[in-house]
C-alpha cells in the first residue's frame, strides 16, 4: 500500500487550500496581547533606565539595583560599596539590566511569546507564518539562545540582590528595623515573584537533576528537580507576574522618590 502511494505523483501533494488558516476563533488575540504586554515592558524599561529618581530610602527601584558605581547615592549602593569606581557616570540600570534582560530574552517561555507575537513564526497554531524560509535556532543569530543557562546564573544573583533590597525595605530611613510601608510589601512581593520565575526556569530544572538519567541515585537532586518542576509548570504565569511586578515596584519607588506618592504609609 505504501508502494502504491509513493508511485502516484498526484498523491504527493497536500490539500491546496488557498487561505492562511481556517480557524474561526480569535487566534490573533493572544499574540496581540502578548505584543502589547512585551512592548509596554520595553518602553517602560527604556524610560526607567534613564530616569534618575531611583532611590527613596529605604526603597531602591529594582531597575537600578544593584547600584555599583561611586556616582550612586550612598544609600543605593550594594552593601555600601561601589566596586565599579568613579569612572562610570551613566545610569546604573544601563550597567546591569543586560543580565536580567538577557535572561528573559533567552528564556524558553519568552522565546515562544515573541516568536509568536513579534516574528509571527507562527502567530498562532495552524496559522501560516509569512516567512518564505525558516531555519529556527540552527544558526546565527538564534543559535545564541543556547546561552540561556549563563544568564540564569546571573539572574539568580540579581534575584538575591532584589530580595536583599526587599528585606532592607523593612528598615526606616534611620536604619531601624520594623518599618512597614506599602513600598516594603510591593518590593517583597516582587522579589518572591522574581525568585519563583528564576528558579522555575527550564535551565534550572535541567541543572538541578534534569540532566541525570538515574534519579534514584541522587535523591536530594531529585527532590530539588521535583520542586523546580512544580515552579516550571507555572513558568508562563510567573514570567508575566514577575514582569508586571518589577514594573510596578520600579514605578512605585520612582513615584515616591519624585514626591508624587507621599501618603504616610508609602
Amino acid at each position: 500500500m505504501t508502494q502504491t502511494t509513493a508511485e502516484n505523483p498526484a498523491r504527493k501533494q497536500r490539500a491546496q487550500l488557498k487561505v492562511r488558516t481556517l480557524r474561526t476563533d480569535r487566534w490573533w488575540l493572544a499574540p496581540a496581547l502578548t505584543f502589547t504586554g512585551l512592548l509596554t515592558f520595553l518602553i517602560y524599561g527604556f524610560w526607567a533606565i534613564f530616569d534618575q529618581s531611583y532611590l527613596a530610602e529605604p526603597y531602591i527601584a529594582p531597575f537600578a539595583s544593584p547600584c555599583l558605581a561611586t556616582a550612586c547615592p550612598e544609600g543605593a549602593r550594594l552593601f555600601g560599596l561601589a566596586p565599579i569606581g568613579d569612572w562610570y557616570t551613566w545610569p546604573p540600570g544601563l550597567l546591569i539590566l543586560g543580565l536580567p534582560g538577557g535572561f528573559r530574552l533567552t528564556c524558553y517561555y519568552y522565546r515562544k511569546s515573541y516568536y509568536r507575537s513579534f516574528w509571527l513564526s507562527p502567530p498562532a497554531c495552524s496559522v501560516a507564518e509569512p516567512h518564505g524560509k525558516y531555519t529556527g535556532e540552527t544558526r546565527l543569530p538564534l543559535i545564541i539562545q543556547n546561552i540561556h543557562r549563563y544568564f540564569f546564573y546571573f539572574a539568580v544573583i540579581i534575584g538575591l540582590i532584589l530580595t536583599y533590597d526587599a528585606v532592607l525595605a523593612f528598615r526606616d530611613k534611620e536604619g531601624n528595623w520594623g518599618h512597614v510601608g506599602l513600598g516594603s510589601i510591593i518590593l517583597l512581593v516582587n522579589a518572591i515573584l522574581i525568585l519563583a520565575y528564576t528558579f522555575g526556569c527550564h535551565s534550572c530544572r535541567h541543572i538541578t537533576a534534569g540532566r541525570l538519567n538515574h534519579f534514584s541515585k541522587h535523591p536530594l537532586r531529585y527532590k530539588a528537580w521535583t520542586f523546580v518542576s512544580k515552579l516550571n509548570a507555572k513558568h508562563q504565569q510567573f514570567a508575566w507576574a514577575s514582569m508586571f511586578s518589577v514594573m510596578i515596584a520600579d514605578l512605585y519607588v520612582r513615584l515616591v522618590a519624585k514626591g508624587i506618592i507621599n501618603f504616610p504609609f508609602a
Binding site: 498523491r11 516568536y115 496559522v127 540552527t138
Partner: protein, 250 residues
Amino acid sequence: MGYKAKFRVWRGEGGEGRLEDFTVEVNEGEVVLDVIHRLQATQAPDLAVRWNCKAGKCGSCSMEINGKPRLGCMTRMSTFEESETITVTPMRTFPVIKDLVTDVSFNYQKAREIPSFTPPKDVKPGEYRMQQVDVERSQEFRKCIECFMCNNVCHVIRDHDENKQAFAGPRFLMRIAELDMHPYDVADRKESAQDEHGLGYCNITKCCTEVCPEHIKITDNALIPMKERVVDRKYDPLVWLGNKIFKRSS
C-alpha cells in the same frame, strides 16, 4: 434534540480538491466523526475518512476541524454553535490520498531513522533494574497514540515543506528524548538530535503541546530538556571542562 448542521468538507484526490457544503443531521452526544459517518451513509458514500477505535486511543481520525488539528472522534458537536458552519479538512502537512485521508508515511520514515533502544553490552535482558522515579519521565511520552497531529501542526514543516528532510518533528524528537532519558540506553543521541534530526529547528512555540490529545507536555518535558542536553554537549564550555576534569562520561 437533533438539528441540521452545516458542514464544509474537503473532497478530492491528491492536492486537488475543493470544499463541499453539506447539511447533515446531528443528534445529542455526537462527535464530528459520527457526523462524517452520517455523511458517508446518506449523502457522500465515497467520502474517505480514516478511523478505527472511536475512543481517542488509536490516533487514526486526525483531521482539521475549523482549522485546528483534532481527533474527529473526540471533538464533541456540543462545542459548536448550532448555526456555525464546521469546516473539516485533512491534515495540512501531509499529502492527501483522498478526501480526509492523508499519507502519513513521512512519520514512519522518520521513526525508522532513530536508532532503537541500545542497552549496555554487559547487561542481559532480565537483568535491567530500574526504579519507578528513573522511568517516570519517559513513561509520559509512552502515552503517545501516534495521531501525528503534533507533526502536522508544527510550523517547521507545515509552512516549510523543504524542512522535512532535516526535521524529525516533535513526535520523534520526543522519542529521542525518551530514549536519551532511559537509565539503560547508552547510545549517543545528543549530537544526532541536533545534527541529524533537526532539534535546532524547534523554536518551542508549543503548538505540539497544544494539540496533543493525550496532553503530553511535549515541549516542556521532552523538547526543552533535550535542547538542554544538547547544550551540555555542544554549547556549554563549563560542562565540557567539568567532564574533562572529573572524567565524567557525558
